[in-house]
Symmetry: C5
Subunit: 353 residues, 5 copies
């Protein structure tokens, strides 16, 4: 997770605008999924070449091209040329370690987001989603198959509600919205993990829980790095006027902005809770150590002096008058019992018992 | 308390504007309480259906609809349509995990606040209160029966003071004001708890106090998350001009803003006090451990060498001339007493005694 | 000190603008002290009723009413009406837990400050001072007799300098200035306490010093809460244009602003010094513990094995050839001395000695 | 690495604008490398004197002078005069401890950056790069041979793409871009080191890892000091309008700005990870100490009392009836075994075993 | 160093504008040093009275009055009147605990700075320097003889460069510049001290190093308090337009601003390094403690059980069959050696050895 802007270092020195895929995922075939719709009708296509894809565009209808697989960079280049994307936009689409951001161009708007998911072992994983919003089209680029867009597709198909009535900007908003929504699921997982971990530490602090605290801290740092720029991104989207975003959609973006703030708040709260757990763990350890030391000290303080005493009467000096007293042995016992009693009283006073 | 935006995750993928209740409270019957008043008169109604409720509106009078129970979302939808609320507002009313916020629309103003209260075991609880302020009406939506509005109702009934003379905006302000006021009671509880906890830790740090520190820290984090957005909310209310808020009420909102700042300040101070308590606890433990170790070391340092000495004269070597000396035994005692005295002096010098 | 906005909670639910005294001080008689002056003359009065007080006003002269005692709220109400104060101002005067603030009204300016002093046992105490500045009058409200205004009174009486030449705004400035000046005395006390505490901890860390650290931390938090809003307050005073503050006085306010910044800086520096002291204390403890443990370990490491050795030759086996050797006893001593010497060398190498 | 603004102190008191080299590198011969190009052609020169260098300039072509070696300050002066650089710019070029910054003058733009690299032992090293951008020239000044500009040279030579078509401003951008890119390599090294260190600490915390943590912390502080001002610098470059920067290049600068933010984010994340590692290390130590103490306490608690018991029956009192009981010895063993069993049960209950 | 705004408390209650010296330095004679110059000529005077000083002014020439010694406040008053300084400026000059600041008046500009130096025992010392810049004069006030202005004087005398050509504003800038430059020397000293301290702690943490860490922390806090306001001061100087500062000099001030930022950065970096050192120290202690405890535990775990065993066979029961076995004694030895070996294996496995 500490990898620095994936593949960025290996790209150092290439001309700005060089479209080089910096990720590691190579899907078998790059697929282009097209939804073309207006209020009345919707057609879905699954095409594989750019030309075919472009031929399917129809004026007056909105087209959503969802490209999965980025290693064939010629395709990105071709799309870029067909839709007039700035060379740096093309580069950023392929260079999958971008910080979430929004960039405004005259004829379109370029947004980079991160789709978060959990791998099977519960560690977070992120994938870059690049979105280009034009007057009557939306392009989305993702690295691997599998995304969170199913509900949007469903709503498009059903054709009810605002989805098909409003323009491409509403579609873009809907896509952003499901991505931000999906963050809540990831965070929910972390909320549960934190609660579990807290109970574990309250019950019995083990090195295993410490390792989990450390791992969680790292993962939250990772999440935060992916989520933090959202605030700025959403703020820009809402504030800046762009010809491709209508006033109606701006109101919806305000809602997405609120959700982003909430996501960020939650990550920060989790980080604080975790830091509190670490402190609690450390202090619990100190307390337990204290208890252990008290036991040791009580035992040692009672029995080491006694041990000395009985050692004295185990000596073999010729002249040791006490040894020959009739009541010597029971007297010694009496003395030792009294000593122990006195010590116990003392410990009780010091609140060690 | 670590739940992430209640129910948000389960809603992921629904169309924006879907009115889905995300809370867990299901009141038996949703009640609609209506106060309709002008300077001269006031009528109170307890109705159960929307149509009946709307029929009771009267031009020239101010209507306050207080809806308790959110799980019948059709009612929210119906209210929304009747008062022209934006679909996202309707969604937010039912989606009860909103961050406190204010949203300005042309004909009305939408405010989300959190009502804080303490459960029986003293942990904090919060409930979303959504408030819509129109030119001559106020709508409030709450999840469960029981709120902090009693004084406002009382003032409305008595009909003295500004309450009935000023418009719906003053009513909205009065409602916000009692909510912020109620935070002070919750904070007072925490102030007392902190003082109590401090005394407990000063007297004797136990693991129980540590757990309380940890729990308080969590609860204050929770409070802070509910209260922190108030500053921004109140600032917006005061700054932004809205046709439904008159200049007179803006002055009052300034007062509510001051109170919000004070509430936030107090939460932050409590958090600092708590963090100080934790440090104090940890350092106290270290001090106590130090004391325990000193006792152990003193006892061990005195008696282990003495134990060795008496062990020497317990040996059974055939040739051990000291054993046959007449003054051997008392001489050994003398030596040991001197040794102990010397050690005590040394310890005193090192300030261990 | 953890009390939340004194009495605020008990007031919850009252109509905004209700004038309720929330403090605990009940002076025997509320006194109204009046200074009426212009450049040429000054008259002082000590009146007890409002009517009498108002009758003494004289056009063309500046009047300073200093009201001591706030529990007779009717008086505040009456003053409020006589000078046209906003209901919320009247409320704030009586509600003595306000955060320092300034509020601009058309005909006057309302300032809330806190007068700090030290109680006899050296803990800080604060009292709300409300100040209303009008075109030709200044009203000050304080809870209990005793304030820091003596030098201002003296300068008024002597009649030299700017004091009597400039208007009511200069008087208000002079009052604010002596209040901020008085903070320096309080801080000086804390500076001394910190230096003392540091020496104490350097010499010998005791639990008593830890408690003092903790108490100081709390007191500085309290001071900070009273002082921190000063920056904003003074900034507003300086920036905002008000008809009752002349340009001449604005220059003086700039000076008061500088002093406020200095006061705040000092509190923050003290907090950092204190936090450094706490760390130093904790680390000193660790160091001492280390030393104690080293002593214990050295003694135990030397004498426990020796104890075992002499134990061996105290056994009563029939066949133990060593016991019958002539040089057995001295040889054992030789062995033991050598062992101890070797250990001492080892300890020295590990820098334990 | 704690050196304060290299050589700055020794320069104290010189007139502002004094061109004094404050670094320590003295290259054998100062070299001036010239690239002169337009879209059609490119010539490269390696000259050693200023006059020769200037003679090679040609109107209508872009010239990039890359000067390596700063100790011959007359050369800087001469360049400064030839290109009309402000005396303070000349001073800053030679005074190689500048904070990264950008300064806008009427006819040119002055940028200071730091080139980061890793020395052979893996510690970071930085070198000041001063860049002056005029309408048709770029000057770069570096302290020692070896830079990160190879890819830019290569692109110039190949002459494809934007490199030769756009103006001097694009060249300047390309140079800045490769510098920022090179930061990613340095950060990648730190990412790897951190991961390695984390594994080391998870496996077994040694003092060596602690020293590495401390050293890394220092190095990241150093990196941060070099990188942090980039944000402001890039922001200024993008925002401020300068006649020498065209609109086309501003778009590219926005990209460089994004990369800078990413670099800064990464450094901050690394600092947090490191701080987490330190906490983890400390807590691990506490845990291990706890374990060690438990073992000690268990052993001592079991065997010190037993030692006392057997000591009792090693005493030589004349009258000790137990010694003469037939079953005394096995009974004692039985008692001791029972005692040990009881203790083990107790330890198990306290979760010490 | 914890003194609060020197002497401020003792001044409490005096009228604003009272010129009272709050420092402790009383120079024998207050000296007035005058440099009067234009491009062509320079005369230097050492005068002692104000009248003489003023008589030496000459229209068309720039005068720099450097006053050393502030306890004769009449002189400050007289200068203030002669140059039309605001009463608060006069007060601030004498009241030597000002926070660095700049104040703009119509006809002049008032700057307060702190000159830092190191006392003989290496602790930092600061002295207030007040500077008044008028159209053709500069006044500087310092508490005690000895300053950092020698290079400025030298440049004035040599008469080359900008020094004598530009106006009084350039002189003021030159003075500010040497003061900021002198901070670098002080910081260099701290850089060295930190490096030294780090090596000391890496080698062997002693309580002495801890005290040094604590002292350094205090001193850096002190430096920071003196240096931090520079940023704002320099920013104001650069931004605000003043008739007495020409555009040429503003460019130079930008340079001084950069240096101030660098100084502040360095202080902050040092503070972080120091805090890192403290953590390192504490963790090192923990590690050493761990090592010590391991040794103790190993010794105790091996020899206490063995001690018990030999104690068993030192008992004097009549019936102890083992004692009479022929191989009893060597068998016991064998058993004990095996036991020790087993334990060593166990310790090795737990990585304690």
């Amino acid at each position: 997770m500490l990898r620095v802007h994936q593949g960025r270092a290996s790209k150092a020195g290439l001309a700005p605008g060089s479209v080089v895929y910096t990720g590691e995922v190579e899907v078998e075939t790059v697929t282009i999924e097209l939804f073309r719709y207006d209020e009345g009708q919707l057609t879905e296509h699954q095409v594989s070449g750019l030309e075919q894809a472009l031929a399917l565009r129809e004026p007056g209808q909105i087209s959503w091209y969802n490209i999965t697989g980025l290693h064939e960079t010629e395709l990105i280049q071709a799309f870029g040329e067909a839709f007039g994307l700035h060379p740096l936009v093309r580069e950023d689409i392929a260079s999958v370690g971008q910080r979430p951001k929004v960039e405004l161009f005259e004829a379109h708007l370029f947004i980079v987001l991160r789709m978060l998911s959990l791998t099977e072992d519960g560690s977070p994983q992120s994938e870059q989603l690049s979105l280009v919003l034009g007057p009557d089209y939306v392009l989305t680029f993702q690295e691997r198959p599998g995304d969170v867009f199913a509900p949007v597709r469903e709503r498009l198909r059903r054709g009810k509600g605002r989805m098909r009535k409003l323009g491409a900007d509403y579609l873009a908003y809907a896509l952003i919205d499901v991505i931000v929504d999906s963050y809540f699921s990831v965070l929910e997982h972390y909320g549960d993990t934190l609660e579990e971990l807290e109970e574990e530490i309250l019950r019995e602090p083990t090195p295993h829980s410490l390792e989990r605290v450390n791992r969680l801290r790292r993962e939250l740092l990772f999440l935060r790095k992916s989520i933090w720029p959202l605030r700025e991104l959403m703020g820009t989207l809402q504030r800046e006027e762009s010809p491709v975003v209508s006033a109606v959609v701006v109101t919806f973006l305000r809602d997405a902005y609120d959700h982003s703030i909430q996501v960020i708040d939650t990550v920060e709260t989790f980080r604080e809770v975790l830091s509190g757990l670490h402190d609690f763990y450390l202090t619990s350890l100190s307390f337990k150590m204290n208890e252990v030391m008290k036991v040791l000290t009580i035992i040692a303080t009672i029995f080491i002096p006694l041990g000395f005493l009985v050692g004295v009467y185990g000596m073999n000096f010729d002249v040791m008058p006490e040894l020959h007293l009739r009541w010597g042995y029971p007297a010694l016992w009496l003395f030792m019992v009294t000593l122990v009693a006195a010590m116990l009283v003392l410990f009780r006073r010091r609140r060690w018992l």
